[in-house]
Assembly symmetry: C2
Homo-oligomer: 426 residues x 2
Amino acid sequence: MMPLTRAAILAVGSELLTPTRTDTNSLFITEQLNLLGIDVVFKSVIGDDRRELEHGVRSGLARVDLLVCCGGLGPTDDDLTRVVVADVLGRSLVEDESITARIQARFQGRGLSMPEINRRQAMVPVGAEIIANPNGTAPGLWIEEGEQVIVLLPGPPRELKPMVRALVSGLLRARAGGEPVVRRVIRITGRSESHTDEALQPLYGEWARASVPIAATILASLGQIELHLSAHADSRAQAEVALNLATDRVLAVLGAVVYSTDGRGLEDVVGGLLADRRLTIAAAESCTGGLIMSRLTDVPGSSRYVERGVVVYSNRSKTELLGVPEEVIASHGAVSEPVAIAMAEGIRSRSGVDIGVGVTGIAGPDGGTAEKPVGTVVIAVASPSGSQVRTFRFVGGREMVKFQASQAALDMVRRMLQDPGTPREM
Amino acid sequence: MMPLTRAAILAVGSELLTPTRTDTNSLFITEQLNLLGIDVVFKSVIGDDRRELEHGVRSGLARVDLLVCCGGLGPTDDDLTRVVVADVLGRSLVEDESITARIQARFQGRGLSMPEINRRQAMVPVGAEIIANPNGTAPGLWIEEGEQVIVLLPGPPRELKPMVRALVSGLLRARAGGEPVVRRVIRITGRSESHTDEALQPLYGEWARASVPIAATILASLGQIELHLSAHADSRAQAEVALNLATDRVLAVLGAVVYSTDGRGLEDVVGGLLADRRLTIAAAESCTGGLIMSRLTDVPGSSRYVERGVVVYSNRSKTELLGVPEEVIASHGAVSEPVAIAMAEGIRSRSGVDIGVGVTGIAGPDGGTAEKPVGTVVIAVASPSGSQVRTFRFVGGREMVKFQASQAALDMVRRMLQDPGTPREM
């Protein structure tokens, strides 16, 4: 049989056609299919409507060799996927007693009896194979029709994901034969999207002409750039080798603005550096309001290096908790380099940690002046080898200013720790 | 002419078929179309592929009376939407000199000359109307074909959104005639999804039979339930009245677990209560790591009521910054009600605020014991009228435990402030 190379994904459910919900299962499915060299050619979202669903299934079967339908496998009248697919294929639905028994056992396990309505979930088109669902009542179905395959999966991600993984290492792997696509995410901060893109231009050309071609996409948001690389190769190993070489080239071109080549977040990278070097950290935050500490403590095991933090929103708290002299605040203003340094050094000496961080700024929307507009943020990092301070002007709304300031502060810590001049166990 | 009632949305762009990007424009477009009583019947994502795009356009025109295409209006070879739509309609493309002039002026404004390639963006199918794009070079197009309408819009949300708004108050409004759908989001915390759903069951039936029918959907995640109501009515005003009545019924049934009926977040609601009552707040956080303070300070103007916060990850910091007696930690453990109370009272008395919050717990993945498993969180709130303390057992990973703990803490503050027994300006 021909290997499967072209797929379409149908997400079924009227709630996915409202302004508040969207299909996200298809992102995971696409990633998994790409690993087997199967491209997703189109995706559609269809409501719980018999005519529309029928049209979607027919239209998919006319265009691809693998059709993945997610959702609409529940026990109610609204759940039409099984019925419509059986109709389109001209097959009848028969009850699979093993499924009924499994659903009954699931209810009994909770001390309940199976509602009669759930029997519908055991109805399968003649000739379908069952895909086990360890996390729910609706089994998935694998249906071969000539050279084509139709896969039906339940909508909840918790149920769908393990089933897709099982397919990719089982039934689907056996039918796939395309070149795998392997992806990598390189993360960058402290440089603009256009500068990054410009610096990478020569690499794009090289990669397009390489024997293992690599495609690159830049996704940028304020304070964060992601470079997504994807390699098409005969094997996964070959793709990984090509991606390693490409990553080295990116590092050579962009240098220290790259903070991660394996998709890790900045708080994770900084945490790893602190743990490796057996250093501790504490932060004194004004405009970031605790965000830096919250990000650092999102990392499992961060209690090894996070000692404490203070959020000093009022001037009084800056003086009481950090010893920032009132006259420094009065003469330079709360948002100033002397205050940021006093905050970083104050938290460092009072808590007895190795690295102290001080952040003060104007997150907006109010509080800006001509000299210090909204978005002005001063960040200081204190270490045994002295203090560094920088003043930034961020754009965007309040939450974006907070995020960018937290990125910049964590990045200053990262670059200080990665500087070969920094002693270990300071 | 017949009013437009059924729409489809096509999002065009190969990047939208990768595992990292998805179409989000359709959510905004759906919301806006629903306001005019236009339903979205299906949506599709299609790559920069001529055959697939042609199929998508034909298939859309066979099923709906309004087809909205987003993306693929750029100046490069990949940008096929204009060409394919003109082909399918059998119309030729002609240059619109006014568009060329506008693009040229845009480039000149930045001291650049227009690249020849951008002339493509001025090519329009015969008979199309131009939709001005204030934020980019690609204009939108409005094309009438018999009773049907095809709208082409650029992909970047910054460009697309104002153009959709202009359509909804202009060309589209004139062609729409359906019943508007108005939505409202009610937010709930501190109750399980199944309990909430069960309590609301009788209302669902009432609403379905009402003269202005209201549809309800529950979206639940850990620590947060959203009830989305949508009303179909002859007029927007009538829908609003029905939604007001429905909201009152929800409040009567669910009571104080409803924290917002206008979509506001919990930090915003708590901030509003503090500001109204002229009260100040400070938090002492262990396992939430600064998240509570960060959420409180996400709200513009929060410096009026947020005085300070401390993140006390180490036992030493709990004693030094809050005065929690070492022997209380030693005898009860850091995660205990006496420690949480001492934290809340310590931050309150040391900072001189009205409300002190203390949170201590085990966010995981490590650190749990049989008696205090991962997810155990103790929260105390101290006020002039005394202290409250509660012990929670949250499920989910580290970040979800942090989030649920921050929800529970903010909610304890909210309920204390909404209690009519709480004095103002304590």
